[in-house]
Protein backbone atom coordinates (compact mmCIF):
# COMPACT_ATOMS: atom_id res chain seq x y z
CA UNK A 1 0.00 0.00 0.00
CA UNK A 2 2.82 2.36 0.94
CA UNK A 3 4.51 1.70 -2.42
CA UNK A 4 1.32 2.52 -4.30
CA UNK A 5 0.72 5.57 -2.13
CA UNK A 6 4.28 6.77 -2.77
CA UNK A 7 3.82 6.12 -6.48
CA UNK A 8 0.66 8.23 -6.50
CA UNK A 9 2.38 11.04 -4.67
CA UNK A 10 5.33 10.90 -7.07
CA UNK A 11 2.96 10.80 -10.04
CA UNK A 12 1.15 13.94 -8.86
CA UNK A 13 4.55 15.53 -8.35
CA UNK A 14 5.48 14.79 -11.96
CA UNK A 15 2.21 16.24 -13.21
CA UNK A 16 2.27 19.37 -11.06
CA UNK A 17 5.90 20.18 -11.91
CA UNK A 18 5.23 19.39 -15.60
CA UNK A 19 8.22 17.08 -15.63
CA UNK A 20 9.86 17.33 -19.06
CA UNK A 21 9.85 13.60 -19.84
CA UNK A 22 6.16 13.30 -19.01
CA UNK A 23 5.25 16.47 -20.94
CA UNK A 24 7.15 15.26 -24.00
CA UNK A 25 5.28 11.94 -24.01
CA UNK A 26 1.90 13.62 -23.50
CA UNK A 27 2.55 16.10 -26.31
CA UNK A 28 3.64 13.41 -28.75
CA UNK A 29 0.59 11.31 -27.85
CA UNK A 30 -1.72 14.24 -28.51
CA UNK A 31 0.08 15.11 -31.73
CA UNK A 32 -0.21 11.53 -33.06
CA UNK A 33 -3.80 10.92 -31.95
CA UNK A 34 -5.20 14.31 -32.99
CA UNK A 35 -3.53 14.11 -36.40
CA UNK A 36 -4.91 10.60 -36.88
CA UNK A 37 -8.40 11.75 -35.83
CA UNK A 38 -8.23 14.70 -38.22
CA UNK A 39 -7.23 12.50 -41.16
CA UNK A 40 -9.82 9.85 -40.22
CA UNK A 41 -12.52 12.57 -40.13
CA UNK A 42 -11.54 13.94 -43.54
CA UNK A 43 -11.96 10.41 -44.94
CA UNK A 44 -14.63 8.93 -42.65
CA UNK A 45 -17.20 11.72 -42.34
CA UNK A 46 -17.93 12.15 -46.07
CA UNK A 47 -17.59 8.40 -46.63
CA UNK A 48 -20.13 7.63 -43.89
CA UNK A 49 -22.53 10.32 -45.14
CA UNK A 50 -22.20 9.07 -48.72
CA UNK A 51 -22.98 5.52 -47.59
CA UNK A 52 -26.07 6.81 -45.77
CA UNK A 53 -27.38 8.67 -48.80
CA UNK A 54 -26.42 6.88 -52.00
CA UNK A 55 -27.48 3.42 -53.12
CA UNK A 56 -25.02 1.67 -55.41
CA UNK A 57 -23.93 -1.91 -56.12
CA UNK A 58 -21.62 -3.16 -53.39
CA UNK A 59 -22.86 -0.66 -50.81
CA UNK A 60 -24.02 -3.39 -48.44
CA UNK A 61 -20.63 -5.09 -48.63
CA UNK A 62 -18.87 -1.83 -47.73
CA UNK A 63 -21.25 -1.21 -44.82
CA UNK A 64 -20.75 -4.73 -43.43
CA UNK A 65 -16.98 -4.42 -43.94
CA UNK A 66 -16.84 -1.07 -42.12
CA UNK A 67 -18.87 -2.46 -39.23
CA UNK A 68 -16.53 -5.44 -39.03
CA UNK A 69 -13.44 -3.22 -39.18
CA UNK A 70 -14.70 -1.25 -36.18
CA UNK A 71 -13.73 -4.19 -34.03
CA UNK A 72 -10.45 -4.97 -35.75
CA UNK A 73 -7.70 -5.95 -33.23
CA UNK A 74 -5.10 -3.16 -33.08
CA UNK A 75 -2.19 -5.62 -33.15
CA UNK A 76 -3.44 -6.94 -36.50
CA UNK A 77 -3.57 -3.39 -37.87
CA UNK A 78 -0.11 -2.80 -36.46
CA UNK A 79 1.18 -5.94 -38.11
CA UNK A 80 -0.31 -5.04 -41.52
CA UNK A 81 1.06 -1.48 -41.39
CA UNK A 82 4.41 -2.89 -40.20
CA UNK A 83 4.55 -5.24 -43.21
CA UNK A 84 3.65 -2.40 -45.58
CA UNK A 85 6.29 -0.03 -44.15
CA UNK A 86 9.08 -2.51 -43.41
CA UNK A 87 12.13 -2.39 -45.62
CA UNK A 88 10.91 -5.39 -47.65
CA UNK A 89 7.34 -4.02 -47.88
CA UNK A 90 5.81 -2.05 -50.76
CA UNK A 91 6.22 1.27 -48.90
CA UNK A 92 9.57 0.43 -47.34
CA UNK A 93 11.48 2.98 -49.40
CA UNK A 94 9.62 5.78 -47.62
CA UNK A 95 11.51 4.96 -44.42
CA UNK A 96 8.50 5.59 -42.20
CA UNK A 97 8.74 2.61 -39.89
CA UNK A 98 9.42 3.55 -36.23
CA UNK A 99 8.41 7.18 -36.80
CA UNK A 100 5.38 9.10 -35.50
CA UNK A 101 4.07 9.09 -39.09
CA UNK A 102 3.86 5.29 -39.02
CA UNK A 103 1.91 5.52 -35.76
CA UNK A 104 -0.46 8.04 -37.32
CA UNK A 105 -0.99 5.72 -40.32
CA UNK A 106 -1.81 2.80 -38.01
CA UNK A 107 -4.24 4.89 -35.98
CA UNK A 108 -5.92 6.24 -39.13
CA UNK A 109 -6.48 2.63 -40.25
CA UNK A 110 -7.98 1.82 -36.87
CA UNK A 111 -10.33 4.77 -36.43
CA UNK A 112 -11.48 5.59 -39.98
CA UNK A 113 -13.91 2.62 -39.97
CA UNK A 114 -15.27 3.78 -36.59
CA UNK A 115 -15.82 7.34 -37.80
CA UNK A 116 -17.33 6.21 -41.12
CA UNK A 117 -19.64 3.55 -39.64
CA UNK A 118 -20.97 5.78 -36.84
CA UNK A 119 -21.38 8.71 -39.25
CA UNK A 120 -23.42 6.49 -41.57
CA UNK A 121 -25.73 5.44 -38.75
CA UNK A 122 -26.48 8.93 -37.43
CA UNK A 123 -26.65 10.50 -40.91
CA UNK A 124 -29.11 7.90 -42.18
CA UNK A 125 -31.74 9.11 -39.70
CA UNK A 126 -31.27 12.73 -40.72
CA UNK A 127 -31.34 11.82 -44.43
CA UNK A 128 -34.71 10.11 -43.97
CA UNK A 129 -36.00 13.42 -42.58
CA UNK A 130 -34.33 15.72 -45.12
CA UNK A 131 -34.47 13.60 -48.28
CA UNK A 132 -37.59 15.00 -49.94
CA UNK A 133 -36.72 18.59 -49.09
CA UNK A 134 -33.15 18.38 -50.42
CA UNK A 135 -34.22 16.50 -53.54
CA UNK A 136 -36.98 19.06 -54.07
CA UNK A 137 -34.32 21.80 -54.00
CA UNK A 138 -32.34 19.87 -56.61
CA UNK A 139 -29.31 19.61 -54.30
CA UNK A 140 -26.33 17.82 -55.82
CA UNK A 141 -24.41 15.00 -54.05
CA UNK A 142 -21.80 17.37 -52.58
CA UNK A 143 -24.51 19.77 -51.38
CA UNK A 144 -26.46 16.91 -49.78
CA UNK A 145 -23.40 15.59 -47.92
CA UNK A 146 -22.36 19.08 -46.80
CA UNK A 147 -25.88 19.82 -45.51
CA UNK A 148 -26.19 16.53 -43.64
CA UNK A 149 -22.74 16.77 -42.05
CA UNK A 150 -23.30 20.38 -41.00
CA UNK A 151 -26.77 19.81 -39.54
CA UNK A 152 -25.56 16.65 -37.82
CA UNK A 153 -22.40 18.29 -36.50
CA UNK A 154 -23.24 18.08 -32.82
CA UNK A 155 -24.08 14.37 -32.98
CA UNK A 156 -20.91 13.79 -34.95
CA UNK A 157 -18.84 15.21 -32.11
CA UNK A 158 -19.58 11.99 -30.23
CA UNK A 159 -18.45 10.02 -33.28
CA UNK A 160 -15.21 11.96 -33.48
CA UNK A 161 -14.69 11.42 -29.75
CA UNK A 162 -15.18 7.70 -30.14
CA UNK A 163 -12.38 7.83 -32.70
CA UNK A 164 -10.18 9.92 -30.44
CA UNK A 165 -10.86 7.57 -27.53
CA UNK A 166 -9.81 4.58 -29.61
CA UNK A 167 -6.69 6.39 -30.87
CA UNK A 168 -5.48 7.72 -27.53
CA UNK A 169 -6.10 4.45 -25.66
CA UNK A 170 -4.53 2.24 -28.31
CA UNK A 171 -1.26 0.48 -27.51
CA UNK A 172 -0.77 -2.60 -29.72
CA UNK A 173 -0.54 -1.01 -33.16
CA UNK A 174 1.59 1.99 -32.16
CA UNK A 175 3.94 -0.28 -30.23
CA UNK A 176 4.54 -2.44 -33.33
CA UNK A 177 4.97 0.35 -35.90
CA UNK A 178 6.44 2.97 -33.55
CA UNK A 179 8.74 0.76 -31.56
CA UNK A 180 8.32 2.79 -28.33
CA UNK A 181 11.63 4.61 -28.91
CA UNK A 182 12.45 7.12 -26.16
CA UNK A 183 12.15 10.76 -27.31
CA UNK A 184 10.99 9.60 -30.77
CA UNK A 185 7.90 7.39 -30.72
CA UNK A 186 7.10 6.92 -27.04
CA UNK A 187 3.49 7.81 -26.31
CA UNK A 188 1.41 7.57 -23.15
CA UNK A 189 0.06 4.06 -23.63
CA UNK A 190 3.36 2.48 -24.71
CA UNK A 191 5.19 4.34 -21.94
CA UNK A 192 2.70 3.11 -19.33
CA UNK A 193 3.20 -0.49 -20.53
CA UNK A 194 6.99 -0.13 -20.45
CA UNK A 195 7.29 1.73 -17.13
CA UNK A 196 4.92 -0.70 -15.42
CA UNK A 197 7.03 -3.64 -16.59
CA UNK A 198 10.15 -1.82 -15.32
CA UNK A 199 8.46 -1.12 -11.99
CA UNK A 200 8.56 2.70 -12.38
CA UNK A 201 5.01 3.13 -11.17
CA UNK A 202 5.26 6.88 -10.63
CA UNK A 203 5.68 7.75 -14.31
CA UNK A 204 3.17 5.05 -15.36
CA UNK A 205 0.59 6.37 -12.90
CA UNK A 206 1.30 9.98 -13.84
CA UNK A 207 0.68 9.21 -17.49
CA UNK A 208 -2.39 7.16 -16.58
CA UNK A 209 -3.85 10.10 -14.63
CA UNK A 210 -3.18 12.46 -17.56
CA UNK A 211 -4.87 10.00 -19.93
CA UNK A 212 -7.91 9.73 -17.66
CA UNK A 213 -8.19 13.49 -17.17
CA UNK A 214 -7.89 13.96 -20.92
CA UNK A 215 -10.66 11.44 -21.62
CA UNK A 216 -12.91 12.96 -18.96
CA UNK A 217 -12.24 16.51 -20.13
CA UNK A 218 -12.92 15.76 -23.78
CA UNK A 219 -16.11 13.85 -22.98
CA UNK A 220 -17.35 16.58 -20.64
CA UNK A 221 -16.73 19.19 -23.33
CA UNK A 222 -18.60 17.10 -25.89
CA UNK A 223 -21.52 16.65 -23.50
CA UNK A 224 -21.72 20.38 -22.86
CA UNK A 225 -21.54 21.22 -26.57
CA UNK A 226 -24.29 18.67 -27.34
CA UNK A 227 -26.53 19.94 -24.57
CA UNK A 228 -26.18 23.58 -25.56
CA UNK A 229 -26.80 22.66 -29.21
CA UNK A 230 -29.91 20.68 -28.25
CA UNK A 231 -31.22 23.65 -26.29
CA UNK A 232 -30.47 26.07 -29.09
CA UNK A 233 -31.47 24.10 -32.18
CA UNK A 234 -34.01 21.66 -30.80
Amino acid sequence: MTDIGDAFAAAWGLIITLESGLAEIVLLSLQVSLTAVLIACVIGLPLGAALAVFKFPGRTIIVVLLNALMGMPPVVVGLIVYLLLSRAGPLGTLGLLFTPTAMIIAQVCLITPIVAALTRQTTEDLWREYEEHLRSLGAGPDQIIATLLWDNRFSLITTVLAGFGRASAEVGAVMIVGGNIDHVTRVMTTAIALETSKGDLALALGLGIVLLVLALGVNAAAYLINESARKRYG
Binding site: E129, S136, L137, G138, A139, N152, Y233, G234
Partner: protein, 253 residues
Protein backbone atom coordinates in the same frame (compact mmCIF):
# COMPACT_ATOMS: atom_id res chain seq x y z
CA UNK B 1 -41.69 33.40 -62.85
CA UNK B 2 -44.85 32.17 -64.49
CA UNK B 3 -45.07 34.87 -67.10
CA UNK B 4 -41.85 33.53 -68.64
CA UNK B 5 -43.38 30.01 -68.92
CA UNK B 6 -40.06 28.21 -68.79
CA UNK B 7 -41.38 24.73 -68.14
CA UNK B 8 -45.17 24.73 -68.47
CA UNK B 9 -47.41 23.19 -69.60
CA UNK B 10 -46.99 19.95 -67.65
CA UNK B 11 -48.52 16.96 -69.30
CA UNK B 12 -49.36 13.61 -67.68
CA UNK B 13 -50.20 10.71 -69.91
CA UNK B 14 -51.36 7.32 -68.59
CA UNK B 15 -49.37 7.81 -65.39
CA UNK B 16 -49.30 4.86 -63.05
CA UNK B 17 -47.39 4.29 -59.83
CA UNK B 18 -47.01 0.92 -58.15
CA UNK B 19 -45.48 0.12 -54.78
CA UNK B 20 -45.12 -3.46 -53.54
CA UNK B 21 -47.23 -4.61 -56.47
CA UNK B 22 -50.15 -2.35 -55.52
CA UNK B 23 -51.30 0.28 -58.03
CA UNK B 24 -51.50 3.50 -56.03
CA UNK B 25 -51.90 5.84 -59.01
CA UNK B 26 -53.97 4.50 -61.88
CA UNK B 27 -53.85 5.76 -65.44
CA UNK B 28 -53.87 9.50 -64.75
CA UNK B 29 -53.82 11.74 -67.81
CA UNK B 30 -54.18 15.51 -67.56
CA UNK B 31 -52.37 18.77 -68.22
CA UNK B 32 -51.44 21.80 -66.12
CA UNK B 33 -51.14 25.11 -67.95
CA UNK B 34 -49.37 28.26 -66.80
CA UNK B 35 -51.16 30.65 -64.51
CA UNK B 36 -53.67 28.56 -62.60
CA UNK B 37 -54.30 27.44 -59.06
CA UNK B 38 -55.25 23.79 -59.37
CA UNK B 39 -56.60 21.88 -56.40
CA UNK B 40 -56.14 18.12 -56.18
CA UNK B 41 -59.06 17.17 -53.98
CA UNK B 42 -60.06 13.83 -52.53
CA UNK B 43 -60.31 11.78 -49.36
CA UNK B 44 -57.31 10.28 -47.53
CA UNK B 45 -55.61 7.59 -49.58
CA UNK B 46 -56.84 9.03 -52.88
CA UNK B 47 -53.25 9.48 -54.12
CA UNK B 48 -53.15 13.29 -53.96
CA UNK B 49 -49.72 13.55 -52.34
CA UNK B 50 -48.33 10.84 -54.60
CA UNK B 51 -49.56 12.69 -57.66
CA UNK B 52 -47.81 15.88 -56.52
CA UNK B 53 -44.58 13.97 -55.82
CA UNK B 54 -44.76 12.39 -59.27
CA UNK B 55 -45.28 15.77 -60.94
CA UNK B 56 -42.44 17.32 -58.91
CA UNK B 57 -40.10 14.50 -59.86
CA UNK B 58 -39.50 13.13 -56.36
CA UNK B 59 -40.69 9.72 -57.53
CA UNK B 60 -40.81 8.25 -61.02
CA UNK B 61 -43.96 6.75 -62.53
CA UNK B 62 -43.90 2.99 -63.09
CA UNK B 63 -45.87 3.51 -66.31
CA UNK B 64 -46.93 6.47 -68.44
CA UNK B 65 -45.19 9.79 -69.03
CA UNK B 66 -44.81 13.09 -67.22
CA UNK B 67 -43.52 15.78 -69.57
CA UNK B 68 -42.66 19.40 -68.96
CA UNK B 69 -43.08 21.15 -72.26
CA UNK B 70 -41.71 24.67 -71.92
CA UNK B 71 -38.36 25.84 -73.32
CA UNK B 72 -36.52 24.84 -70.13
CA UNK B 73 -38.19 21.41 -69.97
CA UNK B 74 -34.80 19.63 -70.09
CA UNK B 75 -33.99 20.87 -66.58
CA UNK B 76 -37.28 21.69 -64.84
CA UNK B 77 -36.09 21.33 -61.21
CA UNK B 78 -34.78 24.90 -60.72
CA UNK B 79 -38.15 26.28 -61.78
CA UNK B 80 -40.17 24.38 -59.17
CA UNK B 81 -40.56 24.23 -55.42
CA UNK B 82 -42.60 22.13 -53.03
CA UNK B 83 -44.01 22.54 -49.53
CA UNK B 84 -44.79 19.37 -47.63
CA UNK B 85 -47.59 18.61 -45.19
CA UNK B 86 -45.04 18.15 -42.40
CA UNK B 87 -42.54 20.95 -42.98
CA UNK B 88 -38.91 19.86 -43.07
CA UNK B 89 -36.98 22.24 -40.84
CA UNK B 90 -33.20 22.17 -41.07
CA UNK B 91 -31.34 22.34 -37.75
CA UNK B 92 -30.57 25.99 -38.35
CA UNK B 93 -32.06 29.39 -37.70
CA UNK B 94 -35.03 30.73 -39.66
CA UNK B 95 -32.67 32.96 -41.66
CA UNK B 96 -30.27 30.07 -42.36
CA UNK B 97 -33.13 27.87 -43.56
CA UNK B 98 -34.00 30.48 -46.19
CA UNK B 99 -30.35 31.05 -47.04
CA UNK B 100 -29.69 27.32 -47.46
CA UNK B 101 -32.48 26.94 -50.02
CA UNK B 102 -31.17 29.88 -52.06
CA UNK B 103 -27.60 28.56 -51.86
CA UNK B 104 -28.75 25.27 -53.39
CA UNK B 105 -30.05 27.28 -56.35
CA UNK B 106 -26.73 29.14 -56.68
CA UNK B 107 -28.16 32.58 -55.90
CA UNK B 108 -25.37 35.07 -55.15
CA UNK B 109 -24.85 36.50 -51.66
CA UNK B 110 -26.21 40.01 -52.27
CA UNK B 111 -29.34 38.69 -53.95
CA UNK B 112 -29.83 36.11 -51.19
CA UNK B 113 -29.69 38.80 -48.52
CA UNK B 114 -32.16 40.97 -50.43
CA UNK B 115 -34.64 38.15 -51.01
CA UNK B 116 -34.42 36.81 -47.46
CA UNK B 117 -34.99 40.20 -45.85
CA UNK B 118 -37.90 40.84 -48.19
CA UNK B 119 -39.42 37.42 -47.47
CA UNK B 120 -38.99 37.71 -43.69
CA UNK B 121 -40.80 41.04 -43.86
CA UNK B 122 -43.62 39.72 -46.06
CA UNK B 123 -44.25 36.63 -43.94
CA UNK B 124 -43.91 38.34 -40.57
CA UNK B 125 -40.93 36.21 -39.58
CA UNK B 126 -38.42 39.06 -39.18
CA UNK B 127 -38.46 38.96 -35.38
CA UNK B 128 -37.79 35.20 -35.49
CA UNK B 129 -34.91 35.38 -38.00
CA UNK B 130 -32.25 34.23 -35.56
CA UNK B 131 -34.43 31.66 -33.77
CA UNK B 132 -33.86 27.95 -34.44
CA UNK B 133 -36.46 26.81 -36.99
CA UNK B 134 -37.20 23.73 -34.87
CA UNK B 135 -38.19 25.94 -31.95
CA UNK B 136 -41.05 27.52 -33.91
CA UNK B 137 -44.70 26.57 -33.48
CA UNK B 138 -46.36 24.35 -36.10
CA UNK B 139 -47.96 27.37 -37.78
CA UNK B 140 -44.71 29.33 -37.82
CA UNK B 141 -42.83 26.34 -39.22
CA UNK B 142 -45.29 25.99 -42.08
CA UNK B 143 -45.08 29.75 -42.69
CA UNK B 144 -41.31 29.38 -42.93
CA UNK B 145 -41.69 26.39 -45.27
CA UNK B 146 -43.92 28.46 -47.59
CA UNK B 147 -41.56 31.44 -47.33
CA UNK B 148 -38.61 29.18 -48.18
CA UNK B 149 -40.35 27.88 -51.30
CA UNK B 150 -41.61 31.34 -52.27
CA UNK B 151 -38.18 32.94 -51.98
CA UNK B 152 -36.96 30.58 -54.72
CA UNK B 153 -39.37 32.41 -57.04
CA UNK B 154 -40.61 29.18 -58.63
CA UNK B 155 -42.63 29.06 -61.81
CA UNK B 156 -44.59 26.14 -60.37
CA UNK B 157 -45.23 25.62 -56.66
CA UNK B 158 -46.52 22.30 -55.32
CA UNK B 159 -48.30 22.50 -51.97
CA UNK B 160 -49.04 19.18 -50.31
CA UNK B 161 -51.83 19.79 -47.78
CA UNK B 162 -49.92 22.70 -46.26
CA UNK B 163 -52.62 23.53 -43.71
CA UNK B 164 -53.72 20.01 -42.74
CA UNK B 165 -52.28 20.26 -39.22
CA UNK B 166 -52.88 23.96 -38.58
CA UNK B 167 -55.44 25.90 -36.58
CA UNK B 168 -57.78 28.39 -38.35
CA UNK B 169 -55.57 31.40 -37.65
CA UNK B 170 -52.42 29.74 -39.04
CA UNK B 171 -54.46 28.38 -41.96
CA UNK B 172 -55.67 31.90 -42.73
CA UNK B 173 -52.07 33.19 -42.78
CA UNK B 174 -50.95 30.43 -45.15
CA UNK B 175 -53.95 31.02 -47.43
CA UNK B 176 -53.04 34.71 -47.64
CA UNK B 177 -49.52 33.76 -48.72
CA UNK B 178 -50.90 31.33 -51.29
CA UNK B 179 -53.03 34.10 -52.78
CA UNK B 180 -50.06 36.47 -52.84
CA UNK B 181 -47.86 33.84 -54.51
CA UNK B 182 -50.60 33.19 -57.06
CA UNK B 183 -50.92 36.95 -57.68
CA UNK B 184 -47.18 37.13 -58.35
CA UNK B 185 -47.73 34.82 -61.35
CA UNK B 186 -46.66 31.47 -59.94
CA UNK B 187 -48.66 28.44 -61.02
CA UNK B 188 -49.83 26.51 -57.96
CA UNK B 189 -50.78 22.86 -57.75
CA UNK B 190 -52.12 22.10 -54.31
CA UNK B 191 -53.54 18.99 -52.66
CA UNK B 192 -56.14 19.04 -49.91
CA UNK B 193 -59.14 17.22 -48.55
CA UNK B 194 -60.56 20.49 -47.21
CA UNK B 195 -63.56 21.42 -49.35
CA UNK B 196 -64.03 24.83 -47.73
CA UNK B 197 -60.43 25.71 -48.51
CA UNK B 198 -60.84 24.51 -52.09
CA UNK B 199 -63.91 26.76 -52.43
CA UNK B 200 -61.89 29.73 -51.15
CA UNK B 201 -58.80 29.19 -53.30
CA UNK B 202 -59.25 26.81 -56.21
CA UNK B 203 -59.55 27.88 -59.83
CA UNK B 204 -59.89 24.32 -61.07
CA UNK B 205 -60.34 21.06 -59.23
CA UNK B 206 -58.97 17.58 -59.90
CA UNK B 207 -61.01 15.09 -57.90
CA UNK B 208 -59.19 11.86 -57.06
CA UNK B 209 -60.40 8.67 -55.47
CA UNK B 210 -58.38 5.51 -54.83
CA UNK B 211 -55.55 6.52 -57.14
CA UNK B 212 -57.74 7.49 -60.02
CA UNK B 213 -58.51 10.94 -61.43
CA UNK B 214 -62.30 10.85 -61.37
CA UNK B 215 -63.02 14.28 -62.82
CA UNK B 216 -61.49 17.67 -63.50
CA UNK B 217 -63.58 20.81 -63.72
CA UNK B 218 -63.40 24.55 -63.13
CA UNK B 219 -63.89 25.08 -59.39
CA UNK B 220 -67.30 26.73 -59.64
CA UNK B 221 -68.67 23.98 -61.87
CA UNK B 222 -67.21 21.27 -59.65
CA UNK B 223 -68.85 22.61 -56.52
CA UNK B 224 -72.17 23.47 -58.15
CA UNK B 225 -72.61 20.51 -60.44
CA UNK B 226 -70.06 17.72 -60.09
CA UNK B 227 -70.08 15.20 -62.91
CA UNK B 228 -69.48 12.00 -60.95
CA UNK B 229 -71.42 10.27 -58.19
CA UNK B 230 -68.21 9.95 -56.24
CA UNK B 231 -67.53 13.69 -56.30
CA UNK B 232 -71.14 14.42 -55.40
CA UNK B 233 -70.93 11.99 -52.52
CA UNK B 234 -67.64 13.58 -51.37
CA UNK B 235 -69.13 17.06 -51.52
CA UNK B 236 -72.14 15.91 -49.50
CA UNK B 237 -69.75 14.68 -46.84
CA UNK B 238 -70.54 10.99 -47.29
CA UNK B 239 -67.96 8.52 -46.08
CA UNK B 240 -66.96 7.15 -49.47
CA UNK B 241 -65.45 3.94 -48.28
CA UNK B 242 -68.77 2.91 -46.74
CA UNK B 243 -70.41 3.28 -50.08
CA UNK B 244 -67.68 2.05 -52.38
CA UNK B 245 -69.68 -0.91 -53.65
CA UNK B 246 -72.23 1.39 -55.27
CA UNK B 247 -69.62 4.00 -56.17
CA UNK B 248 -66.91 1.85 -57.70
CA UNK B 249 -64.80 4.08 -59.96
CA UNK B 250 -65.01 3.32 -63.68
CA UNK B 251 -62.78 0.45 -64.88
CA UNK B 252 -61.73 -0.40 -61.32
CA UNK B 253 -62.77 -4.02 -61.68
Amino acid sequence: MASLSNILPLSLSGVEFKADGIRLIKDVSTEFKAGSLSFVLGPNGAGKSLLLRLCHGLIAPTAGRIDWQGPAAEDPQPHQAMVFQRPVMLRRSVYANLDHALCQRNVDKAERTRRIEDMLERTGLSRLASVSARRLSGGEQQRLAVARAWTLQPEVLFLDEPTAALDPSATHAIEEFIQAIRASGTTIIMSSHDMAQAKRLAEDVLFMYRGRLIERSPAQKFFEKPESDLARSFLQGDLLWWKRKELTPPDDG
